[in-house]
């Protein structure tokens, strides 16, 4: 199948191949959900098996910083939606501006996570108890996905500036937006599992 370069193929072919890629990308996100689901199962299993939770000597992560950090991430989901709306209505500056905002907010989220890991959890280590094992593995995996997402967004932003995407042909942007929403939704679950439950 010829690569659906935005300039080299007919509109009908681009639309058809984009349909394939969309389904493939959604399947990829579903399998990624399964990975998170597996680690979440492990966390709940270990938590259920533990006599005390958090284990002795382990502090709970700081709730209110995480709450603010969550809003930063959720807000970035909203900005990304409006970025896509800009591309769909051929308003490039709207797309560029909101995508930049998303990148900034996503990076702020990562900064918040890094601060939490290094300053707010002095007794909780990855290799210490099952609390640290579950917490750092799951939030770390999520943070890694956010990091990849930020890279993805920077790449599509640069591609947009080079003119790769148009109002009609922008599958890469659709994929980046869906990925960003996915990362957001996973955090909804993780925030509940570690800070509320």
């Amino acid at each position: 199948m010829a690569a659906a370069n935005a300039h080299a193929v007919s509109d009908a072919e681009y639309a058809e191949v984009s349909g394939h890629r969309l389904l493939g990308f959604l399947f990829f996100l579903i399998s990624d959900c399964v990975i998170f689901g597996n680690f979440i199962f492990s966390y709940l299993y270990l938590r259920n098996a533990a006599p005390l939770w958090p284990p002795v000597g382990i502090e709970r992560p700081y709730l209110y910083l995480a709450a603010v950090n969550s809003i930063v991430l959720f807000g970035s989901g909203a900005t990304m939606h409006y970025a896509m709306e800009g591309m769909r209505h051929d308003r490039r500056s709207q797309f560029i501006g909101y995508t930049l905002a998303t990148i900034v907010l996503g990076s702020m989220f990562l900064g918040g996570q890094a601060y939490e890991y290094t300053h707010l959890l002095p007794h909780t280590t990855w290799a210490g108890t099952t609390f640290g094992a579950s917490f750092y593995t799951l939030t770390g995996l999520h943070g890694f996905h956010v990091f990849i997402g930020v890279i993805f967004l920077i790449v599509v932003l640069l591609q947009t500036l080079r003119g790769t995407y148009t109002q009609e042909r922008h599958f890469g942007l659709t994929a980046a937006t869906l990925y960003w929403h996915f990362v957001d939704v996973i955090w909804v679950a993780l925030f509940f599992l570690f800070y509320i439950y």
Binding site: V68, S70, I71, G77, A78, H81, I196
Partner: protein, 68 residues
């Protein structure tokens, strides 16, 4: 240091959650009539985003969320 700022953080979290939730619901209303697969996925994401904001709102006012 941390003991003095939880109230500020809670206020920021609550107001932020309200703003983002409202924006998400407005976006949802705009997306509602669209029919393609990626639009359905976007709608689901907006709903879940709103759920997340409600989570944060309830945490900010102290109804749920474990501090200890």
């Amino acid at each position: 240091m941390l003991e003095s700022i939880p109230t500020e953080l809670r206020i920021i979290a609550f107001i932020g959650a309200v703003i983002v939730a409202v924006v998400a619901l407005i976006a949802l209303r705009g997306e509602w009539p669209k029919t393609r697969l990626e639009d359905h996925v976007t709608k689901i994401m907006m709903v879940l985003l709103t759920v997340g904001c409600i989570e944060v709102m309830l945490v900010a006012i102290g109804t749920i969320g474990r501090v200890k």
